[in-house]
């Protein structure tokens, strides 16, 4: 009797696990149907099927992933592509990432876009097994890991954009103390820090930059923990810092909350965070944002596939290529815009070389 009920419960729990797995991997299949047939002017080639795997946060993160999603939405509207989007879960394993990409490749999706450097290893592995499928990885280019004849590495010159907001921070700071909150201490985020510090120092040599990373890899929760962002920013504000650059994904919300409570300023990242609906109640403390146009890269990549002009290897989206910019929404930096633009012109012309590494 008891064995039977235990078995029953065990199977119920097992069913629960399966459900849980479904929950974290639910696919949202793009419609594409509204614009694809008929409107393409008699082209008989089947619609391009794009597979897109998000990083933690996924569509709706108001930041990095949403930028990729915007690119995909534009493709659906303009080119009538079909799309399948899969999301990552917090704390997942390498095998889960690999499975996700395999699932897309086996489902006939080509090209496949992996959003975020955490896919570096899995893209490298899966691309080897599906040599006729074209892959793109956003934010990573590691020789030997995710390079190959069918992989495009779409990277951004975050250091250049961070330099510009660094200039703005230095000009706006009253105390000469500026802060940087990084989500996770990875080479990618260090690139933001280096560029930012360079921008600050170039503008005001005596200014200091306080640097804090919320977590150390392999703990990636630092991108998703506003409470930690708030604590770190409060520590900086208490120490006299008055402008903090939050390169910390979702944890940045906590930085803005702290800035609002203490009457200080924050700088956003990836998207123009001033305009995001989820941040309306703290937007008056967002000085500017470093914009990383992942959507431009996504559209470029898929268009190149459509035109049969795929190029493997690294493609850098920098200030010059229009993949990076800074935001002026809110008008808080209107008075210093000329100076920031001057720096921008100098970077584009090559007069200023922004460092990438410490």
């Amino acid at each position: 009797m008891r064995g039977k009920t235990t078995g029953l419960v065990a199977s119920l729990l097992a069913a629960g696990l399966v459900l849980a797995a479904c929950g974290s991997d639910t696919a949202t299949t793009g419609s594409g149907g509204t614009s694809s047939p008929g409107s393409t002017g008699g082209s008989t080639s089947p619609a391009i099927k794009v597979g897109l795997a998000y990083d933690i946060g996924g569509r709706g993160d108001q930041s990095f992933n949403d930028s990729a999603a915007r690119g995909l939405d534009k493709l659906k509207a303009d080119l009538g592509v079909e799309a399948k989007e899969l999301e990552a879960a917090a704390g997942e394993t390498e095998a889960q990432k690999e499975d996700r990409l395999r699932q897309l490749a086996e489902g006939g999706y080509n090209p496949i876009i992996a959003v975020g450097f955490s896919y570096a290893e899995s893209v490298g592995k899966v691309a080897k097994d599906f040599s006729d499928v074209k892959f793109a990885i956003v934010d990573d280019f590691t020789e030997g890991t995710d390079t190959g004849a069918n992989i495009a590495n779409l990277t951004f010159a975050e250091n250049e954009g961070s330099y510009l907001v660094g200039v703005a921070a230095a000009l706006k700071s009253q105390t000469g103390k500026i802060g940087f909150v990084g989500g996770v201490n990875t080479p990618l985020i260090q690139k933001f820090e280096v560029g930012f510090t360079a921008g600050v120092k170039a503008t005001k040599a005596e200014a200091t930059v306080d640097v804090k990373y919320l977590t150390q890899p392999p703990d990636f929760t630092g991108f998703n923990d506003p409470a930690k962002g708030e604590t770190a920013a409060n520590g900086m504000f208490d120490a006299g810092v008055d402008v903090v650059y939050a390169a910390a994904g979702g944890s940045g919300n906590g930085v803005f909350k702290a800035a609002k409570a203490k009457g200080k300023l924050g700088i956003g990242v990836d998207s123009d965070q001033y305009t995001l609906p989820s941040l309306t109640d703290v937007k008056d403390v967002i000085l500017t944002s470093m914009i990383k146009q992942v959507d431009v890269a996504v559209v470029d990549f898929v268009t190149s596939i459509k035109d049969n002009k795929f190029v493997a290897g690294q493609k850098v989206y920098d200030l010059k290529a229009g993949g990076i910019d800074y935001a002026t929404s809110g008008g808080k930096i209107d008075d210093i815009k000329a100076k920031v633009d001057e720096a921008k012109t100098k970077i584009v012309s090559g007069e200023i070389k922004v460092p990438e590494k410490k």
């Binding site: 008891r2 009920t5 235990t6 029953l8 419960v9 065990a10 729990l13 629960g16 696990l17 459900l19 849980a20 797995a21 479904c22 929950g23 974290s24 639910t26 933690i56 946060g57 996924g58 569509r59 709706g60 993160d61 108001q62 949403d66 999301e87 879960a89 917090a90 704390g91 201490n185 306080d210 804090k212 990373y213 919320l214 977590t215 150390q216 703990d219 929760t221 998703n224 923990d225 506003p226 409470a227 930690k228 708030e230 604590t231 770190a232 409060n234 520590g235 208490d238 120490a239 979702g250 919300n253 906590g254 909350k257 995001l276 609906p277 989820s278 941040l279 309306t280 109640d281």
Partner: protein
């Protein structure tokens, strides 16, 4: 209990030998700890060690952990091991997100609590009614809850303004209270940097300025738990189910009922912890709990399955966490503090006849002291590990007298007493 974490770590050291220590002893230990903190602050110049900002951050970080620990306490005192706390907290964060953005923070707290109860009931049905292994059921809840929360958040938050598939729209924060007048007075004293006095002012200011009502609620709940479980017949019966369910049964206690009630309370507190986390960070996010349920469980064990102890443990975690996030100079000063604390532990252990432990503690203490004086900062890779290192050391060296409820984690079937 909330005076700087390490301070309190020491409280555990002179463990009571069967007799209860008077409150004065605890007060004395707290004062002594603050003196040590003050000395370290003067030596290292790390003013953040006792600043109001640190204390505030430590409190905010400690509250969800303390609630998780309290949830574990209720379950284990009734004999059920609950490692599903993390999952129940996740349900709590979702509930707070769902109700919080629509009807305000307090509705969020209530909803978070209710969803936590659902998790607790699930655990009760599995472990009490069907006799499933407690660990299996707990793990299942930890896997099931994030999936369910994610599914629901996609359903309800995707189209909400400012929400996304993995995050809720913003929740307004719970009101915060400040004792008027006192706060600015204390701020003046704190700024003077006097030995001890300024430190005391800093700690007091942290405890009286901008304190969230949620924090006060958490304090009430902890005190209430201590009263209910140790001062009422109901509490005695509930604890008897964890110590010896067969004996309780023979005296006419309905063990199943008490285990159910305990798990409902356990789920409610875990949900509350999740709700606090979501409300104080202003929104629900997928993966927001970040292992806090497990840390809460560690805080409970650290606290020897007692409310005061677990609050101390949570405070210790919160304090080191705040330290690690706020500034690296303070973490560097923590090395010295740890060194001193370990030497104190060594002395206490030596006096109670544990030569080996005393030797290990003394050696480690000297090592930490050497580390402090020979370097200028702690490598960032180690800063994040500070809370865990401190807790491991305190657990390993100062607290050998832990005693879990005797029959916690064992399946109990009515009429088949052991």
């Amino acid at each position: 209990m909330s005076v700087g974490g390490l301070a309190v770590g020491l409280e555990v050291a002179p463990a009571d030998r069967g007799k209860r220590l008077s409150p004065w002893v605890y007060a004395l230990v707290a004062v002594a700890a603050l003196v040590v903190l003050s000395v370290v602050r003067l030596l290292s110049g790390a003013t953040d060690l006792t600043s109001a900002g640190t204390v505030q951050a430590a409190l905010t970080a400690a509250v969800p952990l303390a609630m998780a620990g309290l949830a574990g306490l209720w379950a284990e005192r009734a004999g059920v091991v609950n490692i599903g706390l993390e999952g129940m907290m996740v349900l709590g964060t979702f509930g707070a997100g769902y109700a919080g953005y629509q009807w305000g923070p307090w509705a969020g707290v209530v909803f978070g609590l209710l969803l936590g109860v659902v998790g607790g009931l699930l655990h009760a049905v599995a472990t009490v009614t069907f006799g499933v292994d407690h660990i299996i059921s707990g793990v299942a809840i930890n896997l099931l809850a994030p999936g369910a929360a994610l599914f629901l958040s996609k359903l309800y938050f995707s189209d909400a303004p400012g929400g996304g598939q993995k995050q809720s729209p913003r929740i307004s924060d719970a009101p915060k209270v400040t004792i008027p007048g006192l706060s600015s007075l204390l701020a003046d004293i704190e700024a003077k940097r006097w030995f001890f006095v300024s430190d005391l002012a800093g700690v007091l200011r942290g405890l009286t300025t901008e304190v969230s009502l949620l924090t006060l609620l958490a304090v009430l709940v902890i005190v209430g738990t201590a009263w209910v479980l140790w001062r009422t017949p109901f509490g005695l019966r509930l604890r008897s189910c964890g110590e010896s369910p067969a004996a309780a049964e023979s005296l006419g206690v309905n063990v199943y009922k008490y285990k159910y009630l305990a798990l409902v309370a356990s789920g409610a507190f875990a949900g509350l912890g999740g709700a606090f986390l979501a409300v104080s960070s202003g929104q629900y996010r997928d993966g927001q709990t970040g292992g806090r349920g497990f840390i809460g469980l560690a805080a409970m064990i650290f606290g020897n399955w007692r409310p005061g102890g677990l609050a101390t443990g949570a405070g210790l975690f919160g304090y080191t966490d705040a330290m690690a996030l706020r500034g690296s100079s303070a973490v560097h000063a923590l090395l010295l503090l740890l060194g001193i604390a370990l030497v104190v532990v060594a002395v206490i252990q030596y006096r109670s006849g544990h030569q080996l432990l005393s030797g290990v503690a003394a050696a480690l203490g000297v090592l930490f002291g050497y580390w402090y004086f020979s370097t200028d900062e702690v490598p960032p890779e180690l800063v994040g590990a500070a809370p865990y290192v401190v807790t491991l050391l305190v657990l390993g060296l100062a607290a050998q007298r832990l005693r879990p409820p005797r029959h916690a984690g064992e399946p109990y079937r009515r009429g088949q007493g052991v």
